[in-house]
Amino acid sequence: MKFNDFFNMKRFGLLVKHDLMINQNKYLLKMLVLFLGLYAIMVLLMFDGPQQFIHRQTAPQGYIMIFVFSLIALGVFIGGSFSDLGSKVKRTSFILLPASTFEKMLHPFLLRVVLGIVCYLLFFWVDAQLARLTMANAPSILIQGLVIEPFHYSQIIDGMGRDDFAMIVFLLFSFGMYLFTMPLFFKKQALLKAIFVFFIALFTYICFFSLMSHLFHPGNNDGLGFTIPDFKVYKELTSFDLLFDSIAGLSWMFFLVFGYFKLKELKL
């Protein structure tokens, strides 16, 4: 197979231009909703519980809580990448677009995942500053005379724990890639089905561990509880850390490769 059949910069540029020209209003609307939604939530929560946004012994929990919950919006945006493919008519147009499968996969990855994450982080930071400025001008009685802490991303890193931060980011990214590729496997209500399957898989995983724990460590666990006996693999790295890190750090690759081949075999 020639490289040109796989990727061509000019053709890829035309594909991106095609999508942006046709869906520009849809994308702008989504960005606007995210920007205003985040701002509104932050202001409301700052009014409701300003003590959540001041620095005590730990980083302001309010920012961390909003950040974690608003990741759902990002997940929905990423999960909508191939949502059109549920319709036979749109699937026809998609397959017939003169571009390679790689380009058709790379395009939503760059637009929804890379650009989506960058915009999300940027909007979150700007909204946090704007919300704080809004609160600074609010009557003191409404915010109980507290001074809202300015937002920095280091607060999120501290909140998640600096040691585990990289792995949490990878874990979130892997889950994002799961949401990104799953619409290729489900024709209708892909995102809901993907989340449902995720929880089924998680529950099966827990049941399996629990069953093994009851078999090999009888009496140690009740119900769905389980025991994972771990050992040190290398210095401070335990076998459980290795398992967790491998799942978090590698599963996104699996989802992308799996998704690519599913897209390649897409049919009416």
Binding site: I22, S93, A99, K267
Partner: protein
Amino acid sequence: MIEIKNLVFQYRKKKPLFEDLSLRMENGSIVGLLGKNGAGKSTLLNLMAGLIPLQKGNMIVNGFEPSKRQPIFLADVCMVPEEFAFPSTTIDSYTKATSPLYPSFDNKKLDRILVEFELDRTSKLNQLSHGQRKKFLIAFTLASNCKLLILDEPTNGLDIPSKSLFRKILVGSVTEEQLVIISTHQVKDIDTIIDKVVVVDNGKILFDQTMETINKQWYFETVPSLKGLDGVLYHENSMAGYKVILPVTDERESPLDLELLFNSIINHSIQTN
């Protein structure tokens, strides 16, 4: 050019749609693909466009295997599917966004066809009627100048003047390098423009003849009575008496009655392939 050899295709849990189907279509012609409901016309078109993968056999379209969906192949195939949808944008925006993906796209040709179809570039696609949107899709497909144009029920939803305009525009737009395949049930809409008739039935190519061959072999006529007529190959009742197909015995030629020919083929009254 399309070359299909020993094609076998079957949908899951259904009986085989095509068994050992072979077919060849040359560029520079307009082919009418006919068949009863469920005969597999749309499936055959979808296979040619690479929309569904080949299961068994060989299919080469313009030198490519359609199921590989190579970008160069896709850039030379344009299709008017039976069902279609457009984004919420204007004709102009859609054209500016999509046409650069087709290297041979001719904007002037599109403008000419749009004028003939009385469509305005500033019109919003989603505010047009189904027929108008179909006319735009036909205009875009013809302006793409792709080597393979696949039209699945192109005249469905078009009004009577638009149907004759479609025929006029199509004939005037197709070049020697292009192959146009039209699948339709409305045979009267295409009987004056096609160069070749292909009939699919029971998973096989039942009929595959050029217009020249048809005209040399069969004569189509409406007669008040069958009395005194020798060698009638097929006949149907009509308002004026009987529509008949007769073997050509001299130099005379008749306009093709595609509907009559199709019925005779399906009823096996005419020996074909």
